[in-house]
């Protein structure tokens, strides 16, 4: 049976520490290039800051980890790539990027509404000797190709091999955990098989407070978010904020306790 790997990220538990970003970069041999900027760097996992736009002690902020959403329906990047460098793996539902086949036309990047794709503007390089510390499971990408989160496919591959060695066809769920999930100190990022109705993550994905970014575009992302706070959930769709910077903060939790100066 084929899996549909996905995530539920509990934004109420995300402290914005950035462990997931660092773990992801280390796992996938992302170079730390000094010349890279916020808009040219490689951040397959990127934690972004949300704010309810209010000042003073009414202000609230939250953090949202953004990674490839592994869209299921009319996956935008897969459809536009002129040479099949992006494919949806039927067995796992993972949207695979194949840098070795990428022309670097960046059409997929314009197609992705989540800005989860990154272009190698420079050749990768590391301080002398540091290449010894690279993860042997993942090849480094050259300049001029696009890359993104592939749910630590190297780990999936390793799990597969382990299963094969043990004569099993299905992998052991415990063997395949993406680096960001493993790293999250508050277990805010949860990873599981959405196709398995018994999987707690699959169940959580359908809980009341779960939502997906830009769901109305209809790309069926497999990365879910959840939050008890209405203003955080309102960040899912552009229409919700109705243009005004002030977003409806959830009063049920601590509005009464907020002190007024």
């Amino acid at each position: 049976m084929s899996a549909r790997y996905g995530m539920v990220i509990d934004l109420d538990r995300c402290t914005g520490c950035g462990s997931c970003m660092v773990a992801c970069a280390a796992e996938n041999n992302v170079p730390a290039l000094p010349q890279a900027t916020a808009r040219t760097g490689l951040t397959p996992m990127l934690v972004r800051r949300l704010s309810n736009g209010l000042e003073g002690n009414l202000g609230r902020e939250a953090f949202i980890p953004i990674l490839c959403m592994h869209c299921e329906h009319e996956t935008p990047c897969v459809h536009v790539c002129p040479q099949q460098a992006v494919e949806v793996d039927a067995a796992t539902g993972i949207v695979m990027q194949m840098p070795q086949r990428c022309l670097g036309c960046r059409y997929c990047m314009t197609a992705c509404p989540y800005h989860a794709r990154y272009f190698n503007w420079w050749d990768p390089s590391w301080p002398a000797g540091m290449e010894k510390s690279l993860n042997p499971g993942v090849a480094s990408r050259m300049r001029g190709v696009v890359e993104k989160c592939n749910l630590c496919h190297a780990r999936f591959h390793a799990a597969k091999e382990k299963a094969a060695a043990a004569g099993r066809r299905e992998i052991d769920a415990a063997d395949y955990i993406p680096a960001c999930v493993e790293a999250c100190p508050t277990r805010a990022i949860r990873f599981g098989n959405l196709a398995d109705p018994n999987d707690p993550v699959a169940q959580e994905a359908h809980s009341a407070n779960a939502f997906r970014l830009l769901a109305r575009i209809g790309t069926e992302p497999k990365v879910y978010y959840k939050s008890d706070e209405a203003w955080v959930r309102s960040m899912a769709e552009p229409g919700e904020q109705s243009g005004s910077p002030v977003r409806s903060a959830d009063n049920s939790r601590n509005q009464s306790e907020v002190q007024h100066v």
Binding site: Q84, E87, M98
Partner: protein, 274 residues
């Protein structure tokens, strides 16, 4: 795209798309190929020569493409639509029956009546032994004068009518002389005979059709006078009156006398060069 390339799966889309693409691509390549093949074929079947002449003829200015019957005054105005080849001209007989008008007037140039003239300023003289002598005519002679060098064909070489028979160089300019008749070169005269050469024509000279495309009689006069008018206009220094208004003599080696004139155009017009 081809078997054995990893990670590529065929879909119906591929089949349709690639079929379409290859259809288009092969159409384009086919076009080039057929053009090339036809070209080769033209060369094999001696059509190439005609085609070139046709193309050149098409490029000639209107004034150079007058019908011989207009020159002789049999018709008021007619542009030749047959590349000067009266042998295949279906209207020729229709015009030929009309009498030639106009009186012969000496232009101070030597155009013997026993010769036939080609628009490229060459003459052809059928000899008794069935050969034909050909050479540059008086106007050409006067324009060029003593040439710096001449590039003549080899003995036994095939000449094609209207094709470049020999080349004359003067003051760094090249004059490409067109052959009046097709035939084989059998002898070439020296400087004194002005490189007039003997050829054995491919067709029988006695047959009038063989030389029908060459000018004779009143046509020559009409033609020459037109040529002289043209030369007057082209050779006169800017802002002066026509020099030959009185039909005065062309001086020998005009090209040396008037170095400032636009000889590119003059020679091109004179020798039907494009």
């Amino acid at each position: 795209m081809f078997p054995g390339i990893d990670g590529f799966h065929w879909t119906v889309g591929h089949v349709v798309f690639l079929l379409l693409f290859f259809a288009v691509a092969s159409t384009i390549l086919g076009t080039v190929a057929s053009a090339a093949w036809r070209t080769a074929h033209d060369f094999r079947s001696h059509h190439a020569i005609d085609l070139c002449w046709k193309a050149d003829f098409a490029e000639l200015p209107e004034a150079d493409r007058r019908c011989r019957h207009e020159l002789s005054g049999r018709v008021i105005s007619r542009t030749c639509d047959n590349q000067f080849d009266c042998r295949t001209c279906q209207n020729y007989s229709h015009f030929a029956v009309l009498p030639a008008t106009g009186v012969t007037q000496d232009l101070g140039l030597d155009y013997p009546a026993d010769r036939l003239y080609h628009r490229g300023h060459t003459w052809a003289k059928p000899e008794a032994d069935g050969t034909v002598s050909i050479g540059l005519d008086a106007v050409a002679d006067h324009l060029i004068g003593p040439p710096d060098s001449v590039e003549v064909p080899e003995i036994g070489q095939q000449l094609d009518v209207n094709q470049i028979a020999w080349r004359v160089r003067k003051n760094g300019k090249e004059v490409r002389v067109r052959a009046p008749l097709e035939g084989t070169v059998i002898s070439i005269g020296g400087r004194e005979e002005n490189w007039s050469m003997k050829i054995r024509p491919r067709l029988d000279v006695q047959d009038p059709k063989t030389t029908r495309h060459l000018l004779r009689g009143p046509e020559v006069h009409g033609w020459i006078s037109r040529e002289l008018e043209r030369l007057q206009l082209q050779l006169r220094p800017a802002g002066t009156q026509p020099t030959l208004a009185d039909g005065g003599m062309l001086i020998h080696g005009l090209i040396d006398a008037l170095p400032e004139a636009d000889w590119n155009t003059v020679l091109a017009d004179t020798f039907l060069e494009v």
